[in-house]
């Protein structure tokens, strides 16, 4: 993916209100071909409303959604054929087998015949459930259901996939497997939008980050761009020291260039007769950027 790749999904000035409360207040972002975009925001920021709007489940009061350059109207599901929506809920039928669930959702997405059979077999291998394909899924683990939940949304080979908290409540092994699966889709050319509260994962996996709050986009860019725009690129140096009187404390220093700052910092400690017990260096994180932008107050 490059910065001049074609825009596949674009949200322009999205407004949506419930009574007097504005859930979306001008939110906007664009997704490029092959890009992996993190859509972040505190609780109540408007993420779910935005995803539901893109999925055609909500109607915007004002604004536009364009998929591959075509403006989407709310109930035009045919135009959304290129979209794959992975809901946060395990939206599957527990009394059906894994294969039956895939068959049902594949058909509702317009896939049928031999193509569907091939896609189901592919999906079962992809989510590592081929050996459990004919078991009812109500006995599956959370991780297995999560993987199936994703597979049910991509059988029709959408070019844009929206994932709402796809790894919530699963163990590290399953999470790792899910990221591998999604990377495979991206490698095949799909573009992905991920909403998550797992900021460390978003930071590691995504190409770009969009942060919304109060229903509008408050920041967008790569992690480096966001860091530069907000908290700056300084590293945090945390020194745990014991002074001459035996008291232990942690000192925090913000530095631009570690190679220049560290020798002088250590020299200063020696001069002050402080014993260095531990040294920790922290690069700017998405979490710090996020808290800087959205504040530390609880959102309920």
């Amino acid at each position: 993916m490059t910065s001049d790749s074609a825009v596949v999904l674009e949200i322009r000035e999205a407004h949506k209100s419930y009574g007097t409360r504005a859930a979306l207040n001008g939110a906007a972002f664009s997704l490029r071909k092959g890009e992996w975009l993190a859509l972040l925001g505190p609780n109540g920021a408007g993420k779910t409303t935005l995803v539901r709007t893109i999925a055609g489940r909500l109607q915007l009061d004002r604004g536009e959604i364009a998929l591959h350059g075509q403006t989407l109207s709310p109930q035009d599901q045919a135009a959304r054929r290129q979209l794959g929506i992975v809901p946060q809920e395990l939206a599957l039928y527990p009394n059906l087998t894994a294969r039956e669930n895939l068959d049902i959702f594949g058909r509702f997405h317009g896939v049928g015949g031999q193509e569907l059979k091939d896609k189901i077999n592919w999906a079962l291998d992809w989510i590592a459930l081929a050996d459990r394909a004919n078991e009812r899924i109500k006995g599956f683990s959370g991780g297995m259901k999560r993987r199936l939940n994703i597979a049910a949304a991509v059988l029709h080979q959408p070019s844009v996939i929206m994932l709402d908290e796809p790894t919530v409540g699963v163990d590290p092994q399953s999470r790792e497997r899910i990221w591998q699966m999604l990377n495979q889709l991206r490698a095949e050319g799909a573009s992905l939008v991920l909403t998550t509260h797992q900021l460390d994962e978003a930071q590691t996996i995504c190409d770009r980050i969009v942060i919304i709050d109060g229903g509008r986009t408050i920041a967008a860019g790569t992690l480096e761009e966001l860091i530069t725009q907000t908290i700056g690129p300084q590293r945090g140096v945390f020194c745990k020291v014991r002074d001459a009187q035996g008291a232990v404390e942690e000192e925090h220093h913000a530095v631009d260039d570690l190679s220049e700052a560290l020798p002088s910092l250590l020299s200063t400690l020696k001069t002050q007769n402080k014993q260095l017990l531990d040294l920790r260096i922290q690069a700017p994180t998405l979490q710090a950027v996020f808290l800087h932008l959205t504040g530390k107050e609880l959102r309920e």
Binding site: G56, Q59, Q75, Q77, R80, P87, E89, A91, L92, F108
Partner: protein, 434 residues
């Protein structure tokens, strides 16, 4: 700990209006319904539906006319003279009266012999007896009318009864001769015997009554069914059909709660397709449910299902009833916000409709207002339709006439199905993009 549990349960109860209604209001509603059915709403006369009786009596028989006039004063009877029928049948009055009872237009018919005065007070020794044609579905009407007719003899003919007594005295004189003693002994033995019931024991009655089942009248090639099991198959079947269709309609709410509905509607599926698909499936499963009920009734309780006419009418009625019940269940589901709410609402609505509509107590034992209220329920119309098929069918009807016979019930239920489905589809739209 116990106090905390009490508090917890009370808080949950008082914040659940449906549970509160089920706990405190529903029992009162049901108490009121059944009190109105069996207690007549406290108006003192029991409030029972008057028994509708068709009377066949010779117009020129003055005593018969007096007898009918006296009988008509009974508040628990509503008499209609045969000649006053809107459309007097051209067949023999006896046959026509049986057909009228069988069709449910009257609860019973009374055919008086001519001359009537020769038949009363002779303890079976005089003229021919009267005929009481009853609907076995309504045993109350049969026994009440039988008793009232006997009581009416004393009221209508005290002179005849006195003359008969004096005549007997004059004939026999006193003291009792051996012959008289023999007669007395004979009468005493007879009265003390157990052989005193049904039309065969006419001798114990002031007016001998031959009681006939209307369904045994004019039977063609169909065997007369032996019970009214079909009524209960319809009553119970329809009530449970409504419950199961409502539970099935709840799948929509289940899918909404699990997020599956969102997923379905994010695919190429529209809410209208979803609703129509569900309705179609529920209609099919409802049809099978009722079919199983009646086939079981036919095999175990001899419900007369397996004739071409009955089966044809049954299939049509069952399909329409299932379509209506499915639409009803889906409508309730779409106006409910959760499965818990649906469960509460459906319990209240279905139980009330079943009580008023005749699923629990036959409507002919209800007071008139209550019986009329039953016409505003799904159960009432469906049960009426099945009654027409299994109980009130005219054996002389052709297949076309038999189907036309149930057309009003099918029409009303079909209309209910269309309206409820349209309302359900409209209400479900809010689950589409908002």
């Amino acid at each position: 700990m116990i106090a905390t549990l009490l508090k917890l349960n009370w808080l949950n109860l008082k914040r659940d209006p449906v549970a509160l209604a089920l706990s405190f209001i529903m029992p009162l509603v049901f108490f009121t319904i059944f009190a109105a059915i069996f207690g007549g709403g406290g108006d003192g006369d029991g409030g029972m539906n008057p028994i509708r009786v068709l009377v066949v009596a010779e117009k020129n028989d003055a005593f018969a006319q007096k007898f009918v006039d006296t009988l008509a004063k009974q508040p628990s009877l509503t008499l209609t003279r045969f000649e006053d029928l809107e459309k007097v049948p051209e067949v023999e009055p006896d046959t026509a009266a049986g057909a009228q009872v069988r069709a449910g237009h009257f609860d019973a018919a009374l055919i008086l012999p001519t001359p009537l005065d020769q038949s009363v007070g002779n303890f079976g020794q005089g003229g021919p007896g009267a005929v009481l044609i009853y609907d076995a579905a309504n045993p109350v009407a049969r026994f009440a009318l039988s008793g009232l007719v006997q009581a009416n003899v004393m009221q209508a003919a005290p002179d005849i009864m006195l003359n008969r007594g004096m005549g007997m005295f004059a004939e026999q004189g006193a003291p009792l001769t051996p012959q008289q003693q023999g007669l007395v002994d004979e009468a005493r033995d007879f009265l003390n015997s157990d052989d005193g019931e049904g039309g065969g024991a006419a001798g114990t009655e002031l007016l001998p009554l031959e009681e006939r089942d209307a369904r045994a009248e004019g039977e063609g090639d169909e065997a007369a069914p032996k019970s009214i099991v079909a009524y209960y198959a319809a009553g119970i079947g329809i009530m449970f059909l409504l419950f199961s269709m409502t539970a099935a309609g709840g799948s929509l709410l289940e899918e909404e709660e699990s997020g599956t509905l969102d997923r379905l509607l994010s695919s190429q599926l529209s809410i209208h397709q979803l609703m129509l698909g569900k309705w179609l499936f529920f209609s099919i499963s409802g049809t099978l449910q009722l079919t199983v009920m009646f086939v079981y009734g036919a095999l175990v309780f001899s419900v007369p299902l397996f004739t071409v006419k009955t089966m044809s009418a049954f299939v049509l009625m069952t399909v329409v009833a299932a379509m209506g019940a499915a639409a009803f269940g889906m409508f309730l589901a779409t106006i409910s916000k959760s499965r818990a709410q649906l469960s509460g609402i459906s319990t209240v609505v279905i139980l009330i409709m079943s009580a008023v509509g005749g699923s629990m107590v036959p409507r002919f034992v209800m007071p008139p207002a209550m019986a009329t209220a039953g016409k505003f329920t799904f159960n009432g119309w469906a049960i009426d339709g099945y009654l027409k098929i299994f109980w009130r069918a005219d054996p002389n009807h052709s297949l076309g006439q038999a189907l036309l016979h149930i057309a009003p019930e099918m029409g009303v239920i079909g209309l209910m199905a269309v309206l409820l489905l349209a309302l359900a589809m409209q209400t479900a739209k809010r689950r589409q993009a908002a």
